[in-house]
Amino acid sequence: MLKTFSLGGIHPAENKLSANSAIQVLPIPEIVSIPISQHIGAPATPIVKKGDEVKVGQLIAKSSGFVSANIHSSVSGTVFKVDEIIDASSFRRTCVIIKVDGDEWMETIDRSKDLVKEISASKEEIVKKIAEAGIVGLGGATFPAHVKLSVPPGKTADVLIINAVECEPYLTSDHRVMLEKGDEVLVGTQVLMKALGVDKAIIGIENNKPDAIAHLTKLAANYQGIEICPLKTQYPQGGEKQLISATIKREIPSGALPIEVGAVVQNVGTALAVYEAVQKNKPLFERVATITGKSLKNPSNWLFRIGTPVKDLVDAAGGLPEDTGKIIGGGPMMGKALTTIDVPLTKGSSGLLLIPREEAARKEAKPCIRCGKCVSVCPMGLEPFLLMVLADKKEYERLESDAVMDCIECGSCSFTCPANRPLLDYIRLGKGKVGQIMRSRK
């Protein structure tokens, strides 16, 4: 029996259309718009102004707090302006807009292809470098990576878990990174192990990627303390709590962080970025994303510069299909619908999914038939049908006592509901309100 998490879960159609498409390099656009907030936490503070010349990898916005991250230029050229534009969230956000001129990198970046296996940096230097490089969780949550590596006093980490699950249907960027950058990922993992002072790392990969499991298992033999852990394909295994439950059978208590059970989780793409930052001195200004969809001409994986318009990625994959009904930034389960493709790609862009019109519309919601399927699939052991009713009736006290704040918003309940009820929509509203009430109490 393959390992998986303890409660609930679903198995949506995988649709990994782009799994066999090797990572290609997306051409550098003529102009990039780099948002100063590409992470959870406080936006960075711009340190360049109109007319400044910048190089690839140059710091352009500084981290403005503990939970914040540096932003670097992904191109070389001239700062055209620092202004607000509409970003993927549909809100106006400050961006540094740069007119591209050539491709001149900072001299400090090691651009050679050689694998640097020897880790010379000390524990403190590693964390500092990761912070300087502006690395955030590349799984999509974009939590600043160095914050997770700063273990709070009184807690100790004993295991590092690398999230290579890629449980979202359609997305394949992590899969390709493992196949094409396996050694870099493993060195990055060792760098993270050193930063945490742990001698054990587990890389969790779902068994719908047998080639990645085989490849990394072979490579891992050359690295001390790294174990590859094949997992049963089951959504939402990429959730931190679910992944920890699947790999080391520990349950994070309600409201606590992974460190409570001695674990730190980092995405596999983050491990690659850590390798590049610590071993090659390269800040995070490019990453791999999948562009996919059933009607798309060429579902594929691309290495892109942060700030490139989403449109460029769509064009590279054959253009926007006629029947596009929904444009999703991320995967189909947790991704966000975009209003337009004229927004920039960011550190959190793991993929772009184009859903055909006939699959995009939601079906009419019917009365709840109390089948209990939402309860049985909930990975947090909640009762979505009840939470929806309580949110609708504004019964916030009961929502709180029925653990609405434990909801990880994976969407398994809405996905599975035979009556097409918008369970998660209502639960989100309830969570928002209960969160407010809880904060006001403090």
Binding site: K326, I328, L353, R370, C371, P379, M380, L424, R428
Partner: protein, 331 residues
């Protein structure tokens, strides 16, 4: 960009499961028992089924359209299930006018007074059945004998159910070992060779339906296993305590409407608990009450009453029995 795109929160995909799929899945699972009843009770079973189904559809349509003034919901398949289950729960020679009353009570009182599908507290078919049992006890307990495919309807020879034979006999002071000679063998019970309601006799066909529903994940094992397990254990204990007064577990499992109730009635989505733990409690309650009523109560058969009583506890179970939460501190 000239395409209009939809904006909605995640998730952006759906399993494709629907109420209809589940309902018609249940109907498909009932087919073996339905075909069996046609073969065993012949014309009577066909007339009863058609009448029950047609009248359930009709009453649902009329009530939603003219009384509630809503868009009729008959296509969701739930009226079909109620119709078949009502037919399953009556003798195959029940007069048509009684069936019509049963359907009206099932749909009108059992389902629509609560607000239609999803809101009813009690299983509609059982509400109809129990109403008929209390109102027309004679017609509801004169069971036609299974005679193979026959064309007669009202004139078929009638006989008692195995449970009634045992109950009457014990009341008259006959020893159980003697009475067991008067009832069919276990194999005959499993194959439906006994008196009873048209859908409850063929245990094997009902079990086939159960297997299908479990395989298709329409229901989980919790309720049927809890009901049948509890009946087996409880009746087994009584039997061991006094083999001359209490029939054995296998007899209890195969007779009366127990299999029908455990597989198709107790598992009704709307009127059963939502969590696995709740389902187990509910199933154990049904099994326990069934044996109590059968052995100590006034009726030879107790599944219908047991399910209806436990239906009433479902809201309470849903409130007090919470699923195991992830990361919950174990006490």
């Amino acid at each position: 960009m000239n395409t209009k795109v939809l904006i909605a929160p995640s998730p952006h995909v759906h399993s494709g499961d629907s109420i209809q799929k589940n309902m018609y899945g249940v109907v498909f699972a009932m087919l073996p028992a339905l075909i069996f009843s046609f073969v065993y009770f012949g014309m009577g079973a066909i007339i009863v089924t058609l009448t029950a189904v047609a009248s359930c559809y009709l009453f649902e349509f009329l009530i939603t359209k003219y009384l509630l003034k809503k868009v009729p919901t008959i296509t969701d398949g739930s009226a079909l299930i109620t119709g078949i289950l009502l037919a399953f729960n009556v003798p195959a020679n029940l007069p048509i006018w009684i069936i019509l009353i049963g359907a009206l009570v099932a749909i009108g009182i059992g389902k629509m007074t609560f607000g239609g599908l999803g809101n009813n507290v009690f299983n509609p078919a059982l509400v109809g059945r129990v109403f008929l049992l209390i109102s027309f006890p004679v017609q509801m307990t004169s069971w036609p004998k299974a005679l193979g495919f026959n064309t007669s309807y009202l004139d078929a020879e009638t006989g008692a159910t195995p449970l009634a034979i045992i109950k009457e006999g014990l009341k008259n002071g006959e020893p159980l070992s003697q009475l067991m000679h008067d009832v069919p063998s276990n194999l005959d019970l499993l194959m439906g060779n006994m008196g009873g309601s048209m859908g409850e006799v063929a245990g094997a066909a009902l079990l086939l339906g159960l297997a299908y529903m479990l395989f298709k994940k329409i229901i989980t094992w919790h309720i049927p296993v809890a009901v049948l397990g509890t009946v087996a254990v409880f009746s087994g204990i009584l039997h061991m305590a006094n083999p001359e007064a209490y029939a054995g577990p296998l007899f209890h499992l195969l007779t009366g409407g127990l299999l029908l109730g455990a597989i198709f009635m107790a598992t009704d989505y709307v009127t059963s608990p939502m969590s696995n733990k709740g389902m187990l409690i509910y199933g154990i309650g049904i099994g326990f009450l069934t044996v109590i009523i059968r052995v100590f109560g006034a009726y030879p058969e107790g599944v219908s009453f047991a399910i209806l009583i436990m239906n009433a506890f479902v809201p309470l179970i849903n409130v007090y029995v919470k699923p195991k939460r992830f990361g919950e501190k174990r006490k």
